[in-house]
């Protein structure tokens, strides 16, 4: 089993606040990895470090190494722009652009300079199909993305990310604002995508982590407490803290 990411001694600071503490973790290729932990334990910070979205936060600082398929993502030869195309990200709250459905999905391709109408049409359709949204929107691609329901908007955001053909999909609590139906559809979709791309999902929902993921990492106060195969973690957690969290004693 090869690793998509090898992370060594990662620390993230915001001004004086030490948000991620000395985390080392190997994230397997084309599987679903879930990141769980109580609010404020650094899950989002950890996720944002992987596609260098944290670089956009002016007062954040990082130490440690992140290897993506063996290559240091911070080496000067690696541009964060290319990196973010290869490592897509979906946010907690659906954040479609205030454009049409089509223009949302085409955005990532257009900024890469793709202008050919036929190719764009084909890539947009393909991405919407992969995000299991095509049947619902195929007749209204020109409508505003805001006409969609929350769950549809989130799948649109996934489609938009898939359009640039990423190797990894980072999802930060993608179902937090969705109802059970919306959540189920996204889970179904992720299970399909798992065969093609590496998925890392932050979630507060234990059941979701259990259902979806192959490996789980449990964070507590910025530290990685335990990391392992999902069944093992949920059946026989090695550490008392993990057991307490999984049982719902805190967080």
């Amino acid at each position: 089993m090869s690793n998509a990411f090898e992370i060594k001694n990662l620390n993230i600071y915001y001004n004086g606040l030490h948000a991620v503490k000395n985390v080392s973790i190997d994230i397997p290729h084309t599987l679903i990895t879930a990141i769980i932990g109580a609010s404020g334990c650094g899950k989002s910070s950890f996720l944002r470090a992987m596609n260098r979205m944290n670089d956009l936060i002016p007062n954040s600082r990082r130490t440690g190494e992140i290897l993506f398929h063996g290559v240091d993502i911070h080496q000067p030869m690696m541009s964060e722009v290319t990196l973010r195309r290869r490592i897509g990200m979906v946010f907690q709250k659906p954040n479609p652009f205030p454009f049409s459905i089509f223009d949302n999905v085409a955005y990532g391709l257009r900024i890469q300079g793709m202008r050919d109408k036929a190719t764009l049409d084909q890539r947009v359709e393909e991405s919407l199909r992969r995000a299991a949204l095509w049947p619902e929107v195929k007749d209204r691609l020109k409508q505003s993305a805001f006409a969609l329901s929350g769950g549809q908007q989130q799948r649109l955001c996934i489609a938009r990310t898939l359009a640039v053909d990423p190797e990894v999909l980072l999802l930060d609590e993608p179902c937090a604002s969705l109802d059970p139906t919306g959540t189920a559809r996204i889970e179904e979709l992720l299970q399909k995508l798992e065969k093609e791309i590496t998925i890392i999902i932050v979630t507060h929902n234990m059941q979701q982590a259990k259902r979806l993921s192959d490996t789980v990492g449990f964070f507590h106060l910025g530290e990685l407490v335990e990391f392992g195969r999902t069944e093992e973690m949920f059946e026989h957690p090695r550490i008392q803290l993990t057991r307490d969290y999984i049982m719902g004693h805190f967080g």
């Binding site: 722009v81 954040n95 955005y107 900024i111």
Partner: protein
């Protein structure tokens, strides 16, 4: 019980005084407009708009003044908008928090409150004399551009700040560079707000007189500007000139010119507001 009654009456007192204050303001405006119309309306005709100023009040027109005003504000906007928007983008997207940028921000806030005559003196010293532009249209427009620049910067910054960062994040996460985010997200989405700044700037620039007097724009011009370096006059200057004449005929001319100035201002505002609402509905309504 007594308490609620008390509160209710306090509330109606407040409401009535607010209404009174508003009525006083509107009444003043109405008196002004009526007086101007009574004085100037008879004077207002086609020949007034198409004739140059003259010694004789009956023959005098405002051709050079209104054309000068239109040239002046068009140039002013052409100079001030790109500069102001670029400055706003710098502050919102690039500037780090350091003493230099903080100082710059404070400066812009202060500049917005500087009396316009000071800008006029700056324009006289810098553009007319040092840069040798003379009392030209160019010098006037540059002076006006300086005057409205803070307004445009401040409103454009507010418009940019109103764009949710989640939308920008989405673009960055798709591999957009900062300049792509500015071109494809920031500028289109802040456009309605920037337009508001332009409206405010236009309204300010078209009525300003003091800076033009300070740089020495001429009051009697019997030709149209033929280039950037041409001397010019503008409506407020013409009005100022006519008002200060002793003959009653010129006072009527001044009133008629005020009607024209008010009409241009209103038309500009109405046009810009329509444009802004159109774009606002198209893009911005989604974002809240």
């Amino acid at each position: 019980m007594a308490r609620t009654v008390h509160r209710k009456s306090a509330e109606s007192v407040f409401f009535l005084s607010a209404l009174l204050a508003l009525s006083v303001a509107l009444l003043m405006l109405a008196v002004l407009v009526v007086e101007v119309f009574v004085d100037g309306f008879s004077q207002l005709d086609w020949q007034f708009l198409t004739h140059f100023p003259s010694r004789n009040p009956e023959d005098a027109g405002i051709l050079s003044a209104w054309v000068g005003s239109v040239y002046l504000i068009t140039l002013t906007v052409a100079f001030a908008v790109p500069l102001g928007v670029a400055a706003a983008i710098y502050f919102e997207e690039y500037a780090r928090k350091n003493w230099f940028n903080t100082l710059m921000e404070m400066n812009i806030g202060t500049l917005a409150g500087v009396p316009s005559i000071i800008y006029g003196l700056l324009g006289l010293g810098l553009f007319v004399r040092t840069l040798n532009m003379g009392r030209s249209l160019l010098a006037g427009a540059l002076t006006m551009a300086l005057l409205v620049l803070p307004i445009i910067i401040i409103t454009a910054r507010e418009a940019i700040r109103a764009i949710p960062s989640s939308v920008q994040d989405a673009a960055f996460a798709l591999g957009a560079t900062r300049s792509q985010v500015i071109r494809t997200i920031i500028l289109p989405l802040s456009f309605p707000g920037i337009l508001t700044g332009i409206i405010l700037a236009l309204s300010r620039a078209i009525g300003e007189t003091a800076p033009l007097i300070a740089i020495g724009a001429l009051t009697y011009i019997a030709f149209l500007p033929d280039g950037l370096s041409s001397p010019f006059t503008a409506l407020p200057i013409q009005i100022f000139n006519w008002v200060s004449r002793p003959q009653a005929g010129f006072h009527s001319n001044a009133a008629a010119a005020i009607i024209v100035l008010l009409t241009i201002t209103l038309l500009l505002n109405a046009f810009a507001i329509l444009l802004r609402n159109y774009f606002y509905r198209r893009i911005h309504a989604h974002l809240s």
